[in-house]
Symmetry: C2
Subunit: 295 residues, 2 copies
Amino acid sequence: MQLALDPDLSDYLIAPDPTAARLTRGVRGVDQDGAETHMQVVEERPLTIYLNRQEIVTAMTIGDYPEYLALGFLRNQRMLRPDDEITRVDYDEELETVVVRTARQTDYEDKMRRKTRTSGCAVGTVFGDMMEGLDEVRLPQTPVTTSALYALSARINRTPSLYLAAGAIHGTVLCQDDRALVYMEDVGRHNAVDKIAGWMLAERVGGADKILYTTGRLTSEMVIKTAMMGIPVLASRSGFTAWGVEIARKVGLTLIGRLKGRRFICLSGEERLLRDMDPASVAEEPRRSGRKGEA
Amino acid sequence: MQLALDPDLSDYLIAPDPTAARLTRGVRGVDQDGAETHMQVVEERPLTIYLNRQEIVTAMTIGDYPEYLALGFLRNQRMLRPDDEITRVDYDEELETVVVRTARQTDYEDKMRRKTRTSGCAVGTVFGDMMEGLDEVRLPQTPVTTSALYALSARINRTPSLYLAAGAIHGTVLCQDDRALVYMEDVGRHNAVDKIAGWMLAERVGGADKILYTTGRLTSEMVIKTAMMGIPVLASRSGFTAWGVEIARKVGLTLIGRLKGRRFICLSGEERLLRDMDPASVAEEPRRSGRKGEA
């Protein structure tokens, strides 16, 4: 069984579009009985990101919101500064490139010499010192109610998505109180987060009163990106890594994992939690929630 | 409920060690009721890989089998050639470095200029052209029986692992017929695959008669690494990406996904499948198989 999908997307500013032709492909195969099967699988295509004249990285992405992905990646890598004036962002679908242009002259030749291959699903390429800039991060003590966490979890799990349609994809959702605002998906979860960072940058939206929800693991890179975006709360239905917990505690970020049905575990920043709802009154998730549990 | 674990690891050459102190850390937190909880979370630590005098990459890894990880990473990046004489591999736990030394002089300055940030859980950093070398790959027509696939899936799901103990980790298993030989886990699944590639290189084990099983998605990078290792069959309980399927078909690799209980889907290389078992005779997985479905 699967959770009933909620077709009402009115609270979203950006919601997934499982029907977008460019994001999935129909393929033929056979099942265990040798019967021909047709299935939709998610696309995975290269996108090369340039900052002014310099080629920075080629990301493998599902391909939507390339401008947000480029802006968010460069911002989360601190190659774009908060005060940078972005003069142009040009996406070329044929060349599979995005060029971000700034008023400031940029050259990250040295920074790009040091590469870190980060972990698991949160994986990306981090240039320079991963922890760079974290010392300056000051996260506000914005409270988060447990009723909002439960509402967001239920809302997001019932939102029609590429994940539910094709699987093998990750979702990250920017939330405010109990409202899901921007729901991005990508084959690389780091891309989904960067697309949200890019949207926040382009729309000049701050993170202080937001909650970030991810379908994936709470690794060091997820925690660092969330902190860099100025968001004080990161929640997931998945689990933790030790370094993710350590960094969350260091920067004072509220880290909530294993958020399923009425259950969750908070391993950092409990002081923000406002327990305004009795967990016993929250419905458990059906045995199979429809989350395909792709890893 | 959870599958009964099978404590008999006698068929494994390398099995997971969920009890290894260095791989997980006990942390305190609170649950939804405010009750204090203790849980084990997996470690995530940097490991910097050198080839001779050149620093290649820093990987975030759980930290076991660093020598295999370094060897496998360099081999899968084709920085180590099949005929390279490896003169020494030195791991320094304190410095968190592995230095691989070869008789041949190496310099990958140019190759490292081009970086690709690959997808999702299969993510790593790929230097140079991802497809480089695939044209030379010739995969043997080794048949794979459906009875072996079912036996491996059941075996692996019942093997005590860090995944079942702490979650937030990926597993990759090198198999032969219906035997699971080497079961590696890591916070980065690309690391788990590279550790297996490193073991094969160090032990001079070929891939022609092997099956590779992964807990994660069948992305382009997983398919490419499997082909580079000369393994003709890649199976997973998770789903597919379009490019993963496309590359598998291009190199003639048998790609099996959604392998759960009696069910699976084959999207490439069906000609290797020997249907020697009636799927109806295979037990379905319990509703919750104990796989935490971390993403």
